[in-house]
Each structure stands twice: as structure tokens, then as C-alpha cells.
Symmetry: D2
Subunit: 215 residues, 4 copies
């Protein structure tokens, strides 16, 4: 029996909801024949976000970790490929911190690759009619911060944990207050996350199709 | 008892579905205390589209007509404000016609305003958490063609029919094949059309809030 | 000898420059073998804008009028095809007026077509390496207001004046303060306006190529 | 006397020009009181691109290297912050190679940071009225390939060479063939590259302003 940890973030930036927090709720206590899921809320606060994640990982001892975050303005589920060792906050976090150009892990590597099969996930999401893409930047705010922290933990632990980050669009009710912004229904996001977990468990190697960008 | 006619289009432009056709299906035979709904499929063909609409209007004798069409690339329900008297087809229609700069109604007026309370609809959609906006161009393809035909019929008939056009985004399964394009779940669209019908019946005058664009 | 009137707007919306005003300056007093150009600044104020335009038209007695306006966010020279009889101001004008859903000309027609050869202009601009497109909405602010006023004057006068409206992007120095927005160098805009004037004089009929939009 | 190496790429992807190649031409043999500039064309071919860059670096022995590349669809000068150790070609390069998910340097680090003062450059460009931004992804095509190769060379050499990558928009004549795409005049790009070189020489430390993105 495998264990999955799925995390979402507290609302930030003036929003009253965070789609990532709503999207993980249906997974709480979820069990299939091959895995059980644990969910955790991560505070949108530099430092505390990673501490909370690490406490959850010690508690849950997961085989697979998928952190989920809101990407206002993006139209699809974007499977992040790489985490970067930098904090550069355009807005303050939920406790007023706004680090600029600080490392997440001093002397840590510049970046960590996701260990999810990112292209296989995108391929399977699209096959199920869910808009998805590979992303080459998770930004420089708390999302990337937690993603880097996750991959650093996995690298240091030397355990065969698969880990990665998925950015999701605004919910329709958020986009209704931000005219012109795309959105995705909660049901579509939840269905997509379920597919991502399944693919991550059954697809050892990623598939070799181009999801590159020219620039 | 009032009667509503809601129309959707046949798939076009290489798509196998048209979200407008899917979105009107749940309304077939719909009855409330105050109105009943009739639905019709409109062919995506210049000329025949208007003929089909007119036949439906003679048959149904509606108090309210809402034509719905696909707007690939738009992120929200866009309530069209004006129909223009021009056909200018960027791609051929479903029978290979590609009129360029022809009038829809020779010697007809340049444009017709929607007689829906467009701002009240946008306001109420947003209040229900559904992304929406007022649009000032319905394009120059079969959607605008039908919209103009509808408003011309209403003007000529001198009957107090309310009429207008709503553009809707790609469905998620379409956007999954068009990376980067926004989409909207069918359930959200259907909920939105239901709200638009309700508002059109109960709101005699439109509300005075700006939904203008600078250019 | 023909006479051309070219107008630009005063800066608005917090900007310190208006690219349309900068772009018309080089045309002041311009003479070729076949035409001379007069330029005028139009205040970005509902009502006064049209009054100023009409005074200029009485003064100049032009054969061709091209009104130019700023379209922040657009990437190219957009040749407007139609003016609509509505004011719907998203922001106040330069004297604090913010009309909502008022007609520009009470009982005037819904719209007026540009009498410029819009597609021939777009074609020739592109041939000279200048990004251009046909636009089906000039917005609902002072630009559309002046455009409608211009076409109404021409229609009422029954004189064979050609008239139309061209929207232009931010200047680079404006876009430098609006990260993510496209811009166009002043030299490119000026070159483009010169081409538009030339085409308007030599091309009686517009060309029949599709510049339509699906929605 | 310092030496600068500035590189541009051969046209690719069906284009007949590459703005990066046009933009570096005026710098050929450029001399100021403090530095001289050498320019080189880089083939848009995986592998050969880095070989050509390395040969140029051995030849020129530069103190500063700025590689410039075309970013079709971007509206401004984007100063790249990080190069990633992956090739993932969405289209074939100029010799038909299309590597997917191969490392640029086997066992090389996941990423290298630019050693240009990226924020100081953006700040100074904007101050001079040139649209600019910090970018967190240089894509996964030949641009990122060369950028990673450059930073790897610098890291291995242990010489105090400053190096980085700047993506530039389409030229207007390219955007004229890609309706809807933003562009930048060659003169603006050249002025911007000149400013970038100046800032790179005089600004030892980068400035601490946020140019981060939330996602």
C-alpha cells in the first residue's frame, strides 16, 4: 500500500479562496486498492510553508508528494518541471514577508527537476479532455519556494519519493471578479489531480514527446 | 406563459463538438412557472443559418430568443451588444461558402443593438460566480450573421421580442487539443445561460454600470 | 490639390504623452504633389472632442480625415471598420465626464462604416513591414465618440469626404511603465500613417481579401 | 580595456531574418573609452551552436558575453535569469535535429544563474523608455542551449567573465506576417543592448528590487 501526500495553499493576495485548497479537499482520506491519500494545508508564508510541508512528510511518510498551487492567469493545469533556489516576492506573503533574491536553501543547487513523469501526466490529462501543459517556471513566490523545499527534502533523504508541483487556474468565481482571466471548474481540477496521481504511480519512466518551448 | 427559443450551432472549423450545441441540450423542453424553452440547432452555413432561425421563430413564436455560439479563445460568457451588417469569413463555412464584405441584409442598417439587458446579465452572472463580460464585436462569421438576422427579424416584426447573442468559450476537451486556450466547463455554461434567461425576463430596463472598453 | 486632416488626442488616463499626438506632429504642414496635410489636437473630453473636430473640418475643408487614437494593449496599427452610437466610459475623461450608455447622436444610426479602404491599407502596411489589422471595435470611449462624430458629419454633409479612425499602440516609453504591454516606435507609426494617407487617395475601391474574425 | 562578445542567431523556424542577428551588426568593431565589442553569428543548431560560441570565446577572450536571441511573441527585452540543463525541441533546428529531454552537459548542474546584473539592466532600460523585464525561462530550444553552454564555460573556466542572455521581440516586418504578435523596432533593441552592456560593466552588484513573478 502506497501513501500520497497532496498539499494546497491558504488564500493569498486578497483572494478569499485558494483553488488549490478546495481541490485537495475531496482527496482527504481517499483510498484505492493501491494507495491512500493524506491532504495538508500549507500556509502562504515563506519559511513556515516549508516547515509545515516537512512536518507533514515526517508524519505521513509518503511515496508520492504533489503540491498544488494557484496560478492566476494560467488557463490549464500546468505541471511544473523545475524548482529554482530563489525567493523574489512581488507581493508580501500572508505574514508580510517579501524576500528579494534570497536563496531558499543557502548553497543549495540552482534548481531541482520534478521527479513526476510530467509529460506522461500532460499526455494523459489531455487524453481525458483536461487542458494541461508542461511549465518551465513555477515563479519565485511561495509556490516555487515549497516546490524547491520539497525536492530538496527528497534529494537529501535519498528515499525514492516521487515529488512535484502542479499549478492550477483561478476558480470561475475568482475569475468572475477578474474580468478577462481564464478559469477552470473545481470538478475538472479534481479529476485532473486524480489522473496525475494515477499516472505518477503507474508510469516509471516519462514519455519522450516534446513539450518544449522555443523561448 | 412565455416562450424562449435558445439556439446553438453545428460544429465547425475542424472541431467535432460545438459547445453551444452541447450547452442548449439541457434546455430542451425545460418548463418553469413562467416560461417554457424550445431549442434548435442552427447549421454553420451562411444563409441557411438565418433560414433555419426564421423557420424556428415562425414555429415557436418566442418572447425571448438567445442565440449561443462558440468563441474559441475567449475566457468567459460574452454577452454581445451589437450585430453588424457584414459577412467577412476568415474560413469557409460548413458548405464551403466564404463571403467577403457582403451585406447580410442589403440596404439594412449598419448594426442592431441586442435587446437583452446585457449589463444586468453580466452583473448577475458575476454575482453567481460565473465569468462574464459585455462584448462589442461578435465577429464577422456565421455567429454575427445569425445575430444580425435575428435582430432584423425582430425589428421588422415590430413584436416585443427580446433577442441577443451569447458567445461561450471552448469546452475543456477542446482546449485540451489547443494548448494555451481558455475553456469553461459545460455545467458552468448551462448555469450561466439559465441565469441569462431569468434576468432577461425579469429585468425590463438594463442597469447603468460601465462595461465599456477604452478601445 | 487635395487636403488631409489628421487628428490626435491629448494624453489621458494618467499618461503624460499620447502617441497619437506625437505621431501627427511630423505631418503638420506636410505637402506632396497631390495633397497638403493639416493637423489638429482633439481634447480627450466627450462633447468637446467632436466640437473641436467639427471646427477643424469647417476650417480645413478636407477631402480626407484620419483620426488617430491610442489603443494601450494592442500590438499593431488597427484600422477601425465601424463606429458605434454609444458612449460607455470605463474611466472619466479629462474633464471628469463618465457617460454610460448615452447616444453620441440621439436618433442617429447604430453605426457608421469607415469610408477608408481599410483592407487595402492593412495590406499595404504589411507589405511595407508594418504590423496592422482590421478592427471591428473602436471601444466605447472618446476615440469611438470622435470616430462616430466624424462619420456622422460626413454622412450629413453629403460631401465625398473619406474618413476613418486608426488606433495605434503605446510608445515604447509608455510600455516601459506597463510591463507586459506591446508598443510601437514612433517612426514606425508615422511611416504607417503616411502609407494610410497615400492608399486612401489612390485606392478608390477597397480590396476583397478576408480580414474577418470568427468571433 | 575590456572586451565584450555579443552574439546573435541565424534565422530559424521559417523566418528569413533573425532580429538578434540584425541587432548585433551595429556593434561590430564598436569601441568606447572602456571597451571594444566583437560580434559573432551562432548557428541555430544544437551542438554546433555551443561549439561556435566556445571558439569565439577562445578567440576573443571576453570580459563580458551577452548572447541575444529571438523570442517571437514576447513584447519586450527579456533579461534571462537562469539557464536549464535540458534540450526539448518543439521544432527541428536548422539541421533537422530535434532532441527531446537530453542534457546539454551530462551530469552538469540543473541550472546556472546569469551573472549579469539582470535587475539593474531592467531598471535602466525602463528609465530610458525601453520595455524590459526579468524572465525566468529561456525556453528549451537552442537559445537556452547556448545560454547554458555559456554559463557552463564560465563556471569551468573560473575566470571572472560576466555572461547572460537577452531575448528580444520580433522585428515589425516579422510581426507584419504574424498578425497579433508584438514587435520592437531594431533601433530600440540596439539602444537597449548598448544600455545592457554599459550597466553590466559599471554595476558590480545587482539591485534589490522585486522583479519576481507569483507563478
Amino acid at each position: 500500500m502506497k501513501t500520497v501526500l497532496v498539499t494546497g495553499f491558504a488564500p493569498f493576495g486578497g483572494e478569499t479562496v485558494n483553488p488549490s485548497l478546495e481541490a485537495i479537499k475531496p482527496f482527504a482520506g481517499w483510498k484505492t486498492d493501491t494507495y491512500t491519500v493524506e491532504t495538508r494545508e500549507i500556509p502562504t508564508v515563506f519559511g513556515k510553508a516549508i516547515e509545515t510541508l516537512y512536518a507533514a512528510m515526517e508524519d505521513v511518510v509518503p511515496d508520492l508528494v504533489i503540491c498544488v498551487g494557484q496560478a492566476g492567469g494560467r488557463p490549464d493545469l500546468s505541471i511544473e518541471r523545475v524548482a529554482l533556489n530563489v525567493n523574489d516576492a512581488r507581493i508580501p506573503d500572508n505574514e508580510g514577508n517579501q524576500p528579494i533574491d534570497t536563496p531558499i536553501v543557502p548553497n543549495g543547487p540552482v534548481g531541482y527537476w520534478s521527479t513526476l513523469p510530467v509529460k506522461a501526466i500532460v499526455h494523459e490529462l489531455r487524453r481525458h479532455g483536461i487542458p494541461a501543459s508542461v511549465s518551465h517556471t513555477a515563479g519565485t513566490f511561495v509556490c516555487n519556494h515549497v516546490f524547491y523545499g520539497l525536492m530538496h527534502y527528497i534529494a537529501e533523504s535519498q528515499r525514492p519519493i516521487r515529488g512535484g508541483f502542479i499549478h492550477i487556474p483561478y476558480l470561475p468565481e475568482q475569475a468572475a471578479r477578474h474580468p478577462g482571466q481564464p478559469s477552470m471548474a473545481l470538478e475538472t481540477v479534481v479529476k485532473g489531480l486524480r489522473i496525475a496521481i494515477d499516472v505518477a504511480f503507474r508510469q516509471e519512466e516519462d514519455i519522450a514527446t516534446s513539450e518544449g518551448s522555443i523561448c
